[in-house]
């Protein structure tokens, strides 16, 4: 089965949002700060609902926040 490696721009988007802290983002989307840390490190792929919440915080679409690099598709 093909496993997708999902990357994200959360760290960058936080930076361009007045250096929004992980804690503030976590509070805004209703998760723990550790979950935001895990998402940024690529250790956790969030659910579609959480992806939407994060995208809405930054006023972006999901594909502007989360993406799959073609060379990172694992078998």
């Amino acid at each position: 089965m093909t496993k997708l490696v999902i990357n994200n721009n959360v760290r960058t988007l936080r930076f361009f949002n007045d250096e929004m802290s992980q804690k503030d983002l976590a509070k805004a989307v209703g998760v723990s700060r550790q979950t935001i840390v895990a998402i940024e490190k690529g250790q956790y792929s969030p659910t579609l609902e959480l992806c939407f919440k994060i995208a809405l915080v930054f006023n972006k679409t999901i594909d502007e926040v989360f993406y799959v690099e073609k060379n990172q598709i694992e078998d």
Partner: protein, 153 residues
């Protein structure tokens, strides 16, 4: 170490400590002839039924102490007190995965416990095997939680 990892580690230590201390007390009572072991099922029913509330109360006390120590250490380090007690989707996923591992181990223990009766071992061995695997499954569950929190899910 994150709050969740420390919490899992505390759970492991408290599980071993509570079960260990209770096991020693029961063993001493049996050796001294205080506990009546003639009726195997009554003895184990009593032992387990007393253990459940003691275990719950001890865990609550340990978790309160853990939170106080955690907050004190963070304050001493000059950090903002960060008790991540929000249970989100990642926590639930990790809990589900570790619970699955725990259930597999306990089921294996149950089969082995039944096996002890097939080879004519004492009824005590049945309950000891069940409790031992219950303990192992809980410890492995907490270890797997720590691994999932550290390595990711």
């Amino acid at each position: 170490m994150t709050y969740q990892e420390t919490k899992s580690l505390t759970n492991i230590i408290s599980t071993i400590a509570i079960t260990g201390i209770y096991a020693i007390i029961i063993y001493q009572r049996v050796l001294n002839g205080i506990a009546d072991t003639s009726d195997v099922f009554k003895f184990w029913a009593l032992t387990i039924l007393i253990f459940i509330p003691i275990s719950i109360a001890a865990r609550i006390i340990i978790m309160i102490i853990f939170s106080i120590i955690n907050a004190t250490v963070q304050t001493a380090k000059g950090e903002e007190i960060d008790i991540d007690d929000v249970v989100d989707e990642r926590d639930k996923l990790i809990e589900l995965k570790s619970m699955r591992i725990s259930l597999i181990i306990f089921s294996l223990g149950f089969i082995i416990a039944l096996g002890t009766q097939l080879i004519d071992m004492s009824h005590h061995m049945f309950f000891i095997t069940l409790i031992a695997f219950g303990l192992i499954s809980e410890i492995v569950s907490d270890i797997s939680m720590m691994v999932y929190y550290r390595k990711g899910v």
